[in-house]
Symmetry: none
Subunit: 184 residues, 4 copies
Amino acid sequence: MRADARRNRERLLEAAEKVFAERGTSAATEEVAKAAGVGVGTLFRHFTTKEALLEAVFRARMDAAADRMERLLAADDPGAAFREMFLGNVAESSRKSAYIEALAAAGIRVDVTSDATRPRIHATLEALLRRAQEAGAVRKDVDPDDVIALLVGAARAAEHAEGAGGGPAARTRAAEMVLDGLMR
Amino acid sequence: MRADARRNRERLLEAAEKVFAERGTSAATEEVAKAAGVGVGTLFRHFTTKEALLEAVFRARMDAAADRMERLLAADDPGAAFREMFLGNVAESSRKSAYIEALAAAGIRVDVTSDATRPRIHATLEALLRRAQEAGAVRKDVDPDDVIALLVGAARAAEHAEGAGGGPAARTRAAEMVLDGLMR
Amino acid sequence: MRADARRNRERLLEAAEKVFAERGTSAATEEVAKAAGVGVGTLFRHFTTKEALLEAVFRARMDAAADRMERLLAADDPGAAFREMFLGNVAESSRKSAYIEALAAAGIRVDVTSDATRPRIHATLEALLRRAQEAGAVRKDVDPDDVIALLVGAARAAEHAEGAGGGPAARTRAAEMVLDGLMR
Amino acid sequence: MRADARRNRERLLEAAEKVFAERGTSAATEEVAKAAGVGVGTLFRHFTTKEALLEAVFRARMDAAADRMERLLAADDPGAAFREMFLGNVAESSRKSAYIEALAAAGIRVDVTSDATRPRIHATLEALLRRAQEAGAVRKDVDPDDVIALLVGAARAAEHAEGAGGGPAARTRAAEMVLDGLMR
DNA sequence: TATGAATGAGACTTCATTCAT
DNA sequence: AATGAATGAAGTCTCATTCAT
């Protein structure tokens, strides 16, 4: 891929993230193209379909999450690392659920789609969880899938709390309460 | 209102709930009308706008939730009542969040809209919460708004867990874990 | 026809005249029914079609015009009578053209439709015109059809002048100027 | 604008003028698109709204009228120029009034809309009128607004006369009679 | 390769007309 | 005979996607 093509791809991804976050995933692709400073044609050359774009944005977020989480594997305190992982993901995931829902509505199962990131996240999460459990910081009866579900839920709770008038502080508060149920 | 008109309204509400749950809130109104066995015109006579329909469905769910919660006020054990309220709402609320999001995307603040149900729910929730706290079953540092945010989050977590392959059992499991953070 | 039925017909005609004048002939039939205080069903029992209603309103105006004109046949001064006829018709005809246009758009030729009023108007107009011409008050080279065309034109000019900001006085002014071309 | 885009815009304008003249301004936009040989989408890309299209057609006619009138400023005989201006406008304006009415019905005041053509027309008309008055060809007591109103009325009269069976000749005849009221 | 004009299916909504009550 | 709920064709407009420039 030529350098300028790669650059356009990057810009489109950023623009998409911004536009979909602000106006919802039903925003027009043309808006995304405009925000990226390119024509629609270019957008469709890079992402064959609106859903492909949505998926790419979602994956980019997942990759970033995976990176963040892997960095925490090096931490000394397993409990603190787990906590930071949880809160960090909630903080970053604000509108991520919207992508999943939009894709689900289009009949695309993100979970099922072949994806190199998924197993990577799963493995990292499992390691962080196991260590925290061995250190006695997290309940023994939860598995990685539980954590993912609660992560999704905490993100949603944070979103709601913030929207209902609690402001940014409410985001953290909701996530902390969910964490309280996991960590002992 | 004539008997047949009321009956159609009821049917439309049911059809809308079903169709929007199955195909997402972006399903065509015509689909809803067809599912209800009436013409589109009838749908629009009852609900002036697609958003009005979405809102009506949302309100119907809220009313049902309020009824369920009020019934629990009569329970003997405040802790069990609170627990039941929480789990019951999660069980019923599967796609409720979708309505809120669709309405929010349309610029309609359901929270702000004048609504007799909202204060009713709030008051009931507050009573259930206070009693459970006085009985020592629930943490003292949570307020009704926290409970609502966690309810929304737990519902989302349950939805995700179920979708990710956990089956119906996973729904309850996720909600229980959130509850564990609230109840002592 | 029963007395109440006739009464409804009358009310509908009045309501239609008012509603169509205020909101244009594209106003909904339901609006007319509401203004008349009856259901749409009643409206359609009396007038099989929206166009039939439009036509009835148009005819009612034509009948009124015919009455006014016939009364002028008894006047002493033929010139004054002609003048009064002309200005009177312009004054009353404000939105009449709208009916004709709406009917024309629907492919209905009002002129052609069998109508007892038309020949009556034509005859009266002819008489008024001939007398005024014989009295030397009106140009000899105009025929009844010319007068009708100029009447329609003067009404339109009056409408425009009024709408353009001239106020009610401008209505008369425009009509007078057209009359000046006819009367010597 | 790209060459093909400008060409389509032109085609749309022509098609709209034709379709609206033949079937009335309530003709479907889809008809206009078909007549222009383009898709509806293209029509709406060029004219955001049906009213915008109507307005554009109206303006195009006004521009053409302004051009015709300006050309007459160079004429030798002021009276003949005024006469030609009047008859020429009536000849060309057949359905123009329909646009104004459609726009008015939609709540759009064409007169008020910022428009470079309007003052241009007004100025030209004023010059033609003043010269004709100074040459003693036109009554001294009429102002440009009167002329415009009479122009609108004469056009309407011509339209009626033609429609009532007089044929094209009747158009001129009606306009001449109105002119007779203005010119001495 | 990038652009943005063109496309047309499909969405929401209105309204003349019919028909059960 | 009156009512007004139901109907569905038709209208306006949007938007993902294609294609000429």
